[in-house]
Point group: C2
Chain length 373, copies 2
């Protein structure tokens, strides 16, 4: 793949406004996205990739000068699961985020200053509505597939429920139709950690030092939940740093050093307010708005492939099985696979071989299916 560039789509409505599910209005909405491969003449080979919580539009290939490729480069490219020789792959960022799309760190044109907490609450449905506007803009009537893990899986589910006529298949991975109290709880301590940092200042910290310490701790908590007991044992065991420590409670165990490092590097690339908004969007997400999930899925015409990972305790397999069960009850054509992996929730980013195998076959079938229709 040649070097890739992130593109930006700014909604040009008339008036230029985007109505959120809450009824609140956002103006001048921009969505960051990337595309890989070519849209075919029938415009029938487009696949939308949906990223997880702290991901971005840069899913594959290299930005000029970068040493590391996009976050799902193992899965997207020539001959890979999302094969750019056959498919036109789009990866869309989300509103509320901080990676080129409109979010709390964006400038509010009404005030000339960053929104901060004046930014309205956004939902998974709002993210999907914005993506739908992008797909319209790209002139695509029907997506061959929507696919993503974790928060990306929620968006895939939301596409399935909201726009059944616009997708031919959906691949929700390592996700949940709604968060359990344990999932909410982990997010909540992350939020509390950010909001307890005096530098957070009620969300108004742009232009000065931000709540870096609070955000780093939130990320450390996140990292523990993304790994598994086994993968941490394999990666770190009880390995310790030798020698005298600079101070009494410095990190002695490798696992402590790793978490501190990951926390500290995260604050360089992520906005603390986006952390608050996106975790709230996930926590409030309920694919069926309190109804039985199969009711919400009635009318879904897409084929669905649900993937879960055995050691994922943050989005445990039973959450995926509930989605599968509801699909079956609703008469949706669904397949399910639980991949053996010790990587925990991170597995959806790391178990590329088995995932690729499942997804490439599923996509080939979905593409063929359409030819007969």
């Amino acid at each position: 793949m040649d070097n890739v560039k992130t593109k930006y789509f700014t909604f040009a409505g008339s008036p230029d406004k985007f109505v959120l599910e809450s009824g609140e209005i956002l103006r001048d909405v921009t969505l960051a996205y990337e595309t890989y491969g070519e849209l075919n003449a029938e415009r029938s080979n487009a696949i939308l990739i949906l990223h997880a919580f702290t991901g971005d539009a840069h899913a594959a290939g290299y930005h000029e000068g970068d040493k590391k490729p996009g976050w799902w480069d193992d899965m997207i490219g020539s001959g890979k699961a999302f094969d750019t020789d056959n498919y036109f792959v789009i990866c869309s960022n989300v509103i509320g985020g901080c990676s080129g799309s409109t979010g709390p760190s964006s400038i509010n044109k009404a005030t000339g200053k960053p929104y901060g907490l004046d930014f309205p609450f956004i939902t998974i449905g709002d993210m999907v509505n914005a993506q739908k506007a992008l797909i319209d803009e790209l002139g695509i009537d029907k997506l061959l597939s929507v696919a993503g893990g974790s928060m990306g899986g929620m968006q895939a589910l939301s596409w399935l429920v909201k726009y059944p006529d616009r997708i031919r298949s959906a691949i929700p991975i390592a996700t949940s139709a709604k968060h359990s109290p344990q999932q909410i709880a982990f997010h909540e301590v992350g939020r509390q950690s950010i909001m307890s940092d005096p530098n957070w200042n009620g969300g108004d910290y742009y232009g000065s030092e931000g709540p870096d310490k609070g955000l780093a701790i939130a990320r450390m908590i996140g990292h523990i939940t993304y790994m598994s007991d086994v993968s941490m044992e394999e990666k770190f065991g009880r390995a310790q740093k030798e020698g005298k420590l600079p101070s009494k409670f410095d990190a002695r165990f490798e696992v402590e050093n790793y978490l501190r490092y990951r926390g500290d590097s995260f604050v360089k690339r992520f906005d603390a307010n986006s952390y608050l908004y996106l975790t709230k969007a996930m926590d409030f997400y309920d694919a069926s708005s309190g109804e039985p999930l199969d009711t919400a899925l009635h009318g879904a015409k897409a084929k669905v492939l649900v993937i879960a990972f055995k050691s994922d305790w943050l989005y445990p397999a039973y959450h995926s099985k509930e989605i599968v069960k509801a699909c079956k009850r609703a008469g949706v054509d669904v397949s399910y696979c639980e991949i053996e992996s010790t990587y925990g929730h991170d597995a959806f980013l790391l178990e590329a071989v088995e995932e690729a195998h499942l997804i490439s076959h599923f996509l080939a079938k979905a593409a063929k299916n359409k030819e007969h229709k």
Copy 2:
């Protein structure tokens, strides 16, 4: 049980010093403890109860004026598992803590000020050495049993390894011979949260506002790990508070409110520096100091009852099974029971009925056993 009172034992050595496993010396060490029941004439019916991380010496009965009894009142008392009609039950607090025993919030006589971070690192072995001095003081040559959950279980294991001639049985519950990196990681984010609070001030905060926010967040993380996915689902589900919230990121879900409440009430009773010292003591604990555990257990003569709980993912049953396996290899007379429970790690405090059944039989046998020797 009549009202109980906490007692205090201040070491009177000559000189009055307590040598820690690190070689450092503590002076004027005080240990808080309570006793229930009567020591028999042969001094053969004493049981030492060892508390978990944030527990204290007040295990049973009521302090004058209190509405709530001690933390293990379900298990200790007339006719209960630790039957005060038959046994003399001692519950000892730990050094390093903040509930009446010498710890970082105690006054350092050398300076006239609280120790803060001048307090030396302490180990599980140091806690046990201090308890052994108390047992000596009480004139007890051999304990009928040592029993405790979580950090208390580590102390029970430590008694087994360090003082095989001083105990006739041991009951380590919901514990581990050494922490896994996941257990260390959860502790580490708690410590980071405390140390990132500007009020922590390098541990020197006594007499001014302490790191309450950081400590509350540490406790919130702890609470999530003490419960289970299932118990949180049963207790909270996705129940939400109705009405307008005072501010945007206030707690909407019941589980959020619960965690905030538990975090805030914890800071009223616990010292942040003790949080650091005790979690480090647990993280560094290794029952066999890097050797195979069965090597460390050779020479242990006590009967052992190991108890684990199915839904405990913080101290998972496989940790207990490793203790059992090592006991068997070392020729120690060991029994194991995994109790079905949805309460997670908290189960050792909550599943009193089944626990009592196992323990009362085990103790009766241990007491009888002695009569034949």
